[in-house]
Amino acid sequence: MKDILLSALILVGLGGCVPVEKVPGSGGELIQIKQSTVGTFQGLKIGVANIIEAEYVTEAGVKKKGLIAALTLFIDGNPPQEKDFQVHAGQKIAMDKYSVYVEEIRGTTKGLVTLRVQ
């Protein structure tokens, strides 16, 4: 019985421990997109494919282990444009006339990405 209670407590504890990385930005429209869904800003579609924990290099050139989100940007024009990115919080990416700032990455399973798009 004790073991079950202990396991339950550990699970509750783990359940509450969602990794989050945030680098607040400013400007643009704030869009939150859940993993495996698609957000839209004007003619730009942003798909959040996967969120993983891995090593990356920050803009300041520092090696860091943290959350990385795989995003796909898509513009259904003529011709359609599609581009994949692996991003960390605080990173800015661009495609066509759009610029996307990654403000927050939250969770690895069914996670959430907060972007500022303009």
């Binding site: 429209e29 939150q32 997109i33 859940k34 993993q35 495996s36 869904t37 698609v38 957000g39 839209t40 800003f41 004007q42 003619g43 579609k45 798909g47 494919a49 996967n50 993983i52 795989a70 796909t72 898509f74 259904d76 024009g77 003529n78 011709p79 359609p80 444009q81 599609e82 994949d84 990115f85 692996q86 399973t109 069914k110």
Partner: protein, 513 residues
């Protein structure tokens, strides 16, 4: 008691007279002998209409004649398609227009030539899908050259361009330099155009829309006059009727503009309401206004902010295998609303009654919109008059949300097996992907079954979205790869059998009929 006896007698008499009528048609009314050599379409009737001698003999003569005429017409059409195989070079674009259904007709009518046509159409579909997802292979190019297909040259260029395209986050300076040079020479532009042609081969409306001017884009949807809401001028209680309407719509209430007779809108999920998503009217066509039936799934299924990939993949898969099934399950009502048929599974505790019971859900043409764009599933393509085309996917998603209680109820994931069964009323089967071969998938595809797959949470392949549902777009027997359609409307993926088995957990199959 007397009533019951009379009823049974009447029933017996009617059955007897019906049987006599059937026999009379065969014997006296000029019934046509099964497999009579004077008719050449018996194989078609057997394979495509599931006709056999017993069923044939039970038909009245006039129905036999009608069936033979229809079969003759179908084989004549299929004959035109088979003739395309004798062209040199083979016209890839025209062959793709044929579609799997016509190819199957040709196979039934013309055996060897039909079989060849079916193979060619399947392979071209696979190559088109890979060109679209940037995963063309050397085998594809070889096949196009060996079979003297008109696409060979342009796809050779696409293949070269694709080789220069970097993988996720792997832009090296050298790759970028090559890519820039390639684009600067104009080749990149030309190639992108080719892949777009392949992707939108059937979307005449879309092409016309783009030809009409580059200023029309997704984001401009609601600036078009057909999408505008009528704003009221009167103020009531400090709020204009329009403000009151928006407030009610956010709560999922029917819009007062339709006099309260409109069907209830399913409630939006909480996150969307917080983000400022509201219901707005969008006029448009359920299908492509150009009248073409091919590819209704790619134009209508483009997932948005809801986690309902399991439902959208199911709908896409069924629409791909049997577009008419979808068309038959959505009814356009005279008042501008749509009624959609779904099937409710019998609760586990109920021991009696059918396993699935049909339920029809009615919705109108108001959809969740934010900043002018549909926030959930959206359609592609526009008619000549600027109206949205291929809206059946938006209607279907809204009706499914209503069937399940709200948009929130379908937004957090689910099982394609259950969704497919709720669309068709037929139970689905589930198999582990790790032991599912591409041959097995081909087998299901040939039987006309709808097939969807679910990816593992943490896929090793960068092109695969984790914990996501896909539908089978094509299996290529030449390269032994499977192309999976993403309900996002982009980021499709082509994998070998081993990659497929390693990155997916389950395969869901539904017979549709």
């Amino acid at each position: 008691m007397l009533k019951k006896i009379l009823y049974v007698l009447a029933l017996a008499l009617s059955v007897s007279s019906a049987r006599s009528a059937g026999l009379a048609a065969q014997d006296d009314a000029g019934g046509i002998q099964w497999r009579a050599p004077s008719y050449a379409t018996w194989d078609y009737l057997e394979q495509r209409q599931q006709m056999d001698e017993t069923s044939w003999r039970a038909l009245p003569a006039d129905e036999q004649k009608t069936m033979l005429d229809q079969a003759k017409q179908a084989c004549a059409e299929a004959g035109k398609a088979v003739k395309l195989l004798s062209a040199s070079p083979l016209d890839g674009d025209r062959l793709l227009e044929i579609g799997q259904e016509d190819a199957a007709d040709a196979k039934a009518c013309f055996k060897q030539e039909g079989k060849r046509l079916d193979e060619v159409v399947r392979t071209l579909n696979g190559i088109k899908a890979r060109a679209e997802s940037g995963t063309l292979t050397e085998n594809d190019i070889n096949w196009l050259e060996e079979n003297n297909v008109s696409w060979a040259e342009k796809y050779k260029e696409t293949y070269k361009y694709q080789a220069l395209k970097p993988k996720i986050g792997e832009h090296t300076a050298k790759q970028q330099q090559q890519l820039d040079k390639f684009n600067a020479e104009g080749t990149g532009k030309k190639l992108s155009g080719i892949t777009n042609d392949a992707k939108h081969g059937d979307s005449e409306g879309l092409d016309k829309f783009y030809d009409g001017g580059a200023s029309k884009k997704d984001g401009d949807d609601l600036s078009a006059p057909h999408l505008s809401l009528k704003a009221g001028g009167m103020k009531t209680g400090g709020k204009t009727p329009e403000e009151q309407k928006q407030e009610l719509m956010q709560k999922g209430a029917p819009p007062p503009a339709l006099g309260g007779k409109a069907p209830d809108n399913p409630a939006l999920n909480k996150a969307s309401v917080k983000d400022g998503v509201t219901y707005q009217k969008i006029d448009g066509n359920l299908y492509s206004s150009s009248g073409k039936t091919g590819d209704i799934y790619t134009m209508a299924i483009n997932q948005g902010q809801l986690g309902d990939c399991y439902f959208l993949s199911s709908a896409a898969s069924i629409a791909k295998k049997d577009p008419d099934y979808i068309k038959d399950s959505i009814h356009e009502n005279k008042d501008g609303t749509y009624s959609v048929d779904f099937y409710r599974e019998k609760p586990w505790w109920k021991l009696w009654g059918p396993d699935y019971t049909k339920e029809t859900v009615t919705v109108d043409n108001q959809f969740p919109v934010k900043d002018g764009s549909p926030e959930y599933n959206n359609s592609k393509g526009y008619s000549d008059t600027g109206k949205k085309d291929n809206m059946w996917g938006m209607v279907y998603e809204k009706a499914y949300a209503k069937f399940q209680g709200s948009y929130g109820a379908i937004a957090e994931g689910g099982w394609p097996s259950a969704a497919m069964a709720e669309i068709t009323g037929k139970p689905s089967t589930t198999s582990p992907a790790s032991s599912t071969s591409l041959d097995k998938i081909t087998d299901w595809e040939k039987k006309g079954y709808a097939v969807t797959v679910g990816s593992i949470e943490k896929p090793s392949n960068a092109g695969v979205v984790g914990g996501h549902a896909y539908y089978i777009q094509s299996v290529d027997p030449v390269t032994k790869t499977v192309t999976l359609g993403n309900p996002w409307g982009f980021k499709n993926v082509t994998l070998t059998e081993a990659e497929f088995q390693a990155n997916y957990s389950e395969v869901y199959v539904n017979p549709i009929h």
